[in-house]
């Protein structure tokens, strides 16, 4: 008798907590861990000011986000994916194959990537060439510039006599991270092309060129420190000779402990990145499925909130969080894209 009443009470409790499984009434967003801090602020603002359900945002990485996004159209698939790089052709093909045809691409702003070290030591003056020589797996032989060998450099001074005589130790994101993709593209590729022997490979053997310019060394000088940027900041404090690669927002929030390296004469400040003079900055995007916009309640409102001046404008709250806003003309352009839901050309 007692067992029966306990069972009945338990079943009733479960029944009370389980409303009917209706269609999804909240926006589902996945994607980049770099855009995550900005998208979450917009989502919270949207939820609070309109009273709609706050969108659910997962930080899966740009690549993981595209995989989920391109899974198909329907309430079981995400509505929006954030990305710290543009969608690749292969990902567009996956989308098209699974029926995701009308995608709206929206650029939201820029993010600077910094190479930071502890404030206990002096900031480093680096060029992209130096960084390539420090981090690539294969570099031109210093004694015979026509040959490419495995990276022999162990200290910064060996690369450039103006740099300190400390061991090369850089903590950076793993290959799944969009920040890593952007860093490789903006710093390593550009640094690699300064060497004639590698530049010539571009016309003769494209695959080898890609391999030499984009592969990061695996002998312990470059340490994959995962996605937890707070951990990287702590490690930098503990070891002043090491450097860390992460987004500008982390530098901004921890400016009392770390400082960014000066790359080609430019320190990573908000103004330098906004003007484009700091060379290592990349655009941030999100992609929307047009088919979901009329089905999931609140999507139009969320998009409007993101594209509003008070969010992504020069004095907006996203700029306060460390995102670099787009110049006014670009903002106008993307505002129009959002308002009209102009889809991408899928070719």
């Amino acid at each position: 008798m007692k067992v029966k009443s306990i069972l009945v009470a338990g079943a009733l409790t479960l029944a009370m907590t389980a409303p009917a499984m209706a269609a999804r009434d909240y926006i589902s967003i996945v994607g980049s861990s770099t855009v995550y801090p900005f998208a979450t602020v917009v989502a919270e603002q949207f939820g609070k000011t309109t009273g709609s359900k706050t969108p659910k945002i997962e930080s899966t990485g740009s690549g993981g986000g595209f995989k989920l996004f391109c899974g198909g159209v329907g309430v079981n698939y995400p509505d929006i994916t954030n990305a710290s790089r543009a969608i690749k052709a292969s990902e567009m093909k996956t989308c098209a194959d699974n029926g995701v045809k009308d995608i709206v691409e929206v650029k939201i702003g820029y993010d600077g990537i910094v190479l930071a070290n502890s404030k206990k030591v002096a900031p480093l003056q680096l060029t992209r060439k130096d960084i390539f020589l420090a981090l690539a797996k294969e570099v031109p032989d210093p004694k015979n510039p026509g040959k490419i060998i495995a990276n022999p450099y162990k200290t910064w001074k060996e690369i450039n006599s103006a740099l300190p005589n400390t061991k090369i130790e850089v903590l950076g994101p793993p290959p799944t991270s969009g920040t890593r993709d952007a860093f490789v593209e903006l710093v390593m590729d550009t640094g690699a092309e300064e060497f004639d022997v590698i530049k010539n490979l571009k016309s003769t053997d494209k695959a080898r060129f890609k391999k030499v310019s984009q592969t990061v060394r695996e002998d312990g000088a470059f340490i994959e420190a995962g996605e937890n940027d707070n951990l990287i900041v702590q490690k930098l404090e503990a070891n002043p000779n090491s450097l860390g690669i992460f987004g500008f927002s982390y530098l901004d929030q921890n400016a009392d402990k770390i400082q960014g390296s000066i790359i080609e004469g430019q320190a990573p400040t908000f103004e330098a990145i906004a003007e484009g003079t700091y060379p290592v900055s990349r655009p941030l995007f999100f992609y929307v499925k047009k088919a979901h916009v009329d089905v999931i309640p609140g999507m139009k409102g969320y998009l409007a909130e993101f594209a509003s001046k008070k969010a992504w404008g020069e004095d907006g709250y996203l700029a306060d969080k460390g995102m670099i806003p787009m110049p006014a003309a670009e903002r106008e352009n993307y505002s129009d894209v959002v308002a009209s839901l102009k889809t991408m050309d899928m070719n």
């Binding site: 389980a18 979450t40 989502a43 000011t49 659910k56 921890n254 009392d256």
Partner: protein, 425 residues
């Protein structure tokens, strides 16, 4: 007699070998004590670090504003559309009339949390008659001000390295001198869900999500686990198949938990179409994880019931079913309960399997039922540990303290139950 004289032993004086034996035993005892002291010191260090990082999270800085609810601001019909941030800015300007440049005004406004506008909105919507009056309202201060008050931002550092500028410091000092800035107990931590603003972030969403997930886990894993244990122990024949099942169950207890997450993603979300990030799926995945623990604990406690009980029951005419349900199971239940509570405590701390099913997400709303998206407490800790704002460090440590309190409470309850209902055969 001759032997004793030759060796020179006497019952009153121990030999060298005996002394060595005593010394060895004493050292062995000391090693054991050292091991325990070392283990306890690691735990003490962990608790101390977390406590020292987290205790400041239980207070929050508030600032008192004189807000004039000017009727012009509420000219529109919908009260929600009024410019509440404008009201906050106006009251800050009236407190510091000397601030004129645009840049300085922006720095002045940034001393107040963005939530102040929502607080004013709540006040007006609760009682629209306050429009036209001036009221004193206590609002949350910005998280940087909070960090300064808790000593996490160093005043003595150079201005360029600090997040609080020198002019902001003078304004804060004036507010303190006027009695308009104070620290209060942080109820927001316990009553609100996640937020991007550290001063607004709370664990209620995660705690409710954990509660719902564990409810599903308990209601599914306990009956299935107990029934499996009873069947395997009492009714199953002893052949190759039952041996195979036993090996598999023991192995499942050692499988890495993220594999269960992949299983959940493949079957529950993709095949069955259950909604992502909900306690239903989370509970199902955690059920799969805790089942082996409950089955193994259940079998052990059933084995411990002496055969004389079973034989006596059969002897007075009970059927096999009645023997098990009326006699064996009630006696084995305390052990099963202990195993279940330990399994639940393990499930409470799991994060990896929930990653694959989407419960690692930014979710602000408090979940209403088992099909609403939610996070669980360990996931909330993981997300906060990854945020750049300095104020999230103390919130993470405070959430870890809450989680540890729950875990310690559950495990202590398990020990208490075991001690109370233990039957010494």
């Amino acid at each position: 007699m001759k032997n004793i004289e030759n060796t020179g032993t006497s019952l009153l004086h121990p030999t060298r070998q005996l002394k060595r034996r005593y010394r060895a035993e004493k050292w062995f005892q000391r090693m054991g004590l050292l091991a325990i002291v070392l283990a306890l010191s690691f735990i003490a260090f962990l608790f101390f670090t977390i406590f020292s990082d987290g205790y400041t999270a239980f207070t929050q800085t508030y600032i008192e504003l004189d807000v004039h609810f000017a009727p012009e601001v509420f000219s529109q019909e919908k009260l929600a559309r009024a410019n509440y941030p404008g009201l906050v800015k106006g009251s800050m300007r009236s407190l510091f009339p000397g601030v004129t440049s645009r840049r300085e005004k922006k720095q002045l406004y940034s001393l107040i949390s963005p939530s102040a506008a929502y607080r004013l909105q709540e006040l007006v919507e609760a009682d629209p008659k306050i429009i036209g009056t001036t009221k004193k309202v206590w609002v949350l201060a910005d998280d940087d001000v909070d960090m300064l008050m808790k000593g996490k931002i160093d005043r003595k550092q150079d201005e360029s390295a600090r997040r609080i500028r020198d002019n902001q410091l003078t304004w804060i000092d004036k507010l303190i001198a006027d009695g308009r800035l104070e620290k209060r107990f942080n109820w927001t931590f316990f009553t609100s869900g996640d937020s991007r603003e550290p001063e607004l972030a709370g664990i209620l969403g995660a705690v409710k999500g954990s509660f719902l997930t564990l409810l599903i886990t308990l209601s599914l894993s306990f009956p299935i686990g107990v029934a499996s244990a009873v069947y395997l122990e009492e009714f199953a024949p002893e052949n190759k198949w039952t041996d195979l099942i036993e090996i598999n169950i023991n192995n499942l207890a050692a499988v890495p938990s993220i594999i269960f997450g992949l299983l959940g993603l493949a079957i529950f979300i993709n095949f069955w179409g259950l909604p992502r990030s909900t306690p239903v799926v989370g509970g199902l995945v955690l059920t799969l994880m805790t089942l082996p623990t409950i089955i193994i604990a259940g079998r052990a406690s059933l084995k411990s019931v002496p055969p004389s009980i079973r034989e006596a029951a059969l002897g007075v005419g009970a059927s096999k079913m009645q023997t098990v349900t009326h006699h064996v199971l009630p006696l084995a239940l305390p052990g099963m309960l202990t195993g279940t509570i330990i399994g639940m405590a393990q499930a409470l701390g799991e994060t990896a399997p929930l990653l694959m099913i989407g419960m690692v997400a930014f979710i602000v709303d408090i979940p209403g039922g088992i099909t609403d998206p939610s996070a669980v407490l360990p996931v909330q800790i993981f997300l906060w540990a990854d945020s750049p704002e300095r104020a999230f460090t103390e919130k993470t440590a405070a959430a870890i303290m809450i989680l540890l309190i729950f875990l310690v409470a559950m495990n202590s309850f398990a020990v208490f139950l075991r001690k109370k209902f233990e039957i010494k055969w």
